[in-house]
Symmetry: C2
Subunit: 363 residues, 2 copies
Amino acid sequence: MPWITAHYRVESSADEIEAFAQTLALEQSVEVPLAAVRDGWIAEHIVGKVRSIAPRADGAFDVAIALATATTGWDVAQTINMLFGNASLHAAVQLADVELPLSLVTAFPRPRFGIAGLRARTGVVAGPLACVALKPQGMPPRELAKLYRLFAQAGVDVVKDDHGIADQSYSRFAERVAAVQQVADEVRRATGRAPLYAPSLVGSPVALSERLRIVRDEGVSMVLIAPALIGMPVFAELIMKLDVPVLAHPAYTGATRVAAPLLLGKFFRLLGADATIFPSFGGRFAFDRKMCGAIATAARAPWHDVAATLPVPAGGMTVERVPELVDFYGPDTMLLIGGSILAADDVAARARAFANAVKGAFR
Amino acid sequence: MPWITAHYRVESSADEIEAFAQTLALEQSVEVPLAAVRDGWIAEHIVGKVRSIAPRADGAFDVAIALATATTGWDVAQTINMLFGNASLHAAVQLADVELPLSLVTAFPRPRFGIAGLRARTGVVAGPLACVALKPQGMPPRELAKLYRLFAQAGVDVVKDDHGIADQSYSRFAERVAAVQQVADEVRRATGRAPLYAPSLVGSPVALSERLRIVRDEGVSMVLIAPALIGMPVFAELIMKLDVPVLAHPAYTGATRVAAPLLLGKFFRLLGADATIFPSFGGRFAFDRKMCGAIATAARAPWHDVAATLPVPAGGMTVERVPELVDFYGPDTMLLIGGSILAADDVAARARAFANAVKGAFR
């Protein structure tokens, strides 16, 4: 059976890196000293093997370790455990990338819609997409629905809940989703087209089951989920119960310890995100161009039979930057702007300018 | 309604810290610029407020921010979201600690057994407890059961699965738990006392439901769960369905970005861990004495009506270090030694030496 190859970035002296790599291979497989492995079959088929150690330009080392695919039990939680369970506790170790055999890839949900499906559902056959957020939290459902209408008239493609909007006393999920979706349905009947509305699904599994029912009953056409908040295994199971595209949110990913391209790109894609939000360069987070490019690549690059996930750069973007962003990310991209539109004196005009900028940026 | 106070460790220049703190308060509440908050009620009751900024000895700043309790919706996932959802993406920000109002604390499961319950179930009325691990993974159920018997004869108090043992082809959960628990029952019938056996519950929610049934059917007396692997909200819901003590494992916590005392101590305790494993100083992880002391304190210190969680230092401990560890952690502690016992030439003798050292260390 083909093995997994896990790539770690390890800070270590040149003297100690070989021993460290060997320790890491044990930690992420049998979690005992080699002396405690008394069985030849285990030593051969279960113990992790150091495949290569190479110095990096930044002074750290790239360590490639082969991990036995069988140790994952073909389960999401257990796969994460084998890749970075205990190693996450070593400050000197980052999980940088992973190569999975096809048999394991096909055990995960993977995007059911992907970029092609999102284009079909939004009607944006070419060029980048435009996404905005309903916020600030604290607004009652009818106000959020009004904001949706304003954004729809502006011509954006997707309207998502702010990730902070959940099921609070001032905006119950059932009431809010019904109110916004009703406006979406009205707009669609009147104009033949309405932005997809993606309410935020955040909560415990029991609460999520109930909200899933509401999503279905109201005919919602997309959802927003933060896998790190609800748990990646729950995310994967939810995907299998949803028949609409899923937009992944990076909340609580603490993305610097697991490489962001791997977590927000590959992992969320493997689990089934059709689109994935990440903090873009030049915004209010410190991700640089190289990091953002790597995330977009991880989301879109050909990978076995896995559908492409739509990159969604966000986090302090402005309308003025749309051409630059489209130039950088290319057409298979959805731009997400929230606060800077909502802070404008004329929110409607600003939203329209955003939608037009996105449509005009790609020729 | 009383507010939450979240404490962040922020790396910033003295010139910029006030503006950064204000941005953080917005990020973790309304996630828009203040100009976009047009409603007075939201500005007063929902927007986060910077309560204090103080320089730290390490050159960073302590920033205390009041967050509206209502924004949590009294839900686990959403509470984490409000505390550290987007802020986790800022490399310069660490969630250091949190003060929760009683109304929110009582919305969480909290330990149902805690230290007192674990003492009652193990019969260790005073002094520290001894815990060992079944490993390496790859061993079939009958071999793991034999190892359990050896550890039982050695006189340890708890025998846990290695956290890497899940439901793999070479050791199915159902078969393994039945095999080990059968030996535990035999030992108890023969001697009147047997170590609690804590199998590892790791997997997706559907798989966990099935394993929960097995845990009940087999009369298992404790379980091991890694909240960060299965997701903290799932962990909280599982707790409510379990009627045995829960031992929390730190796998995948990447504990340096959320302060370890908060995540492994307070959070896991709040969610209902009766005992919590963490890497001790002097082992194979880089946690120092101060960090370990802070984790133990977070687990045990009086906190509203929340039962105390048993600290379980682990990660490369040796029998020789038992007196030092007991001296440091005190009697309300369970020592966990795995690899160094299993690597010994005479595993049984080493395990007995461990149990005796633990029993003898506290007078």
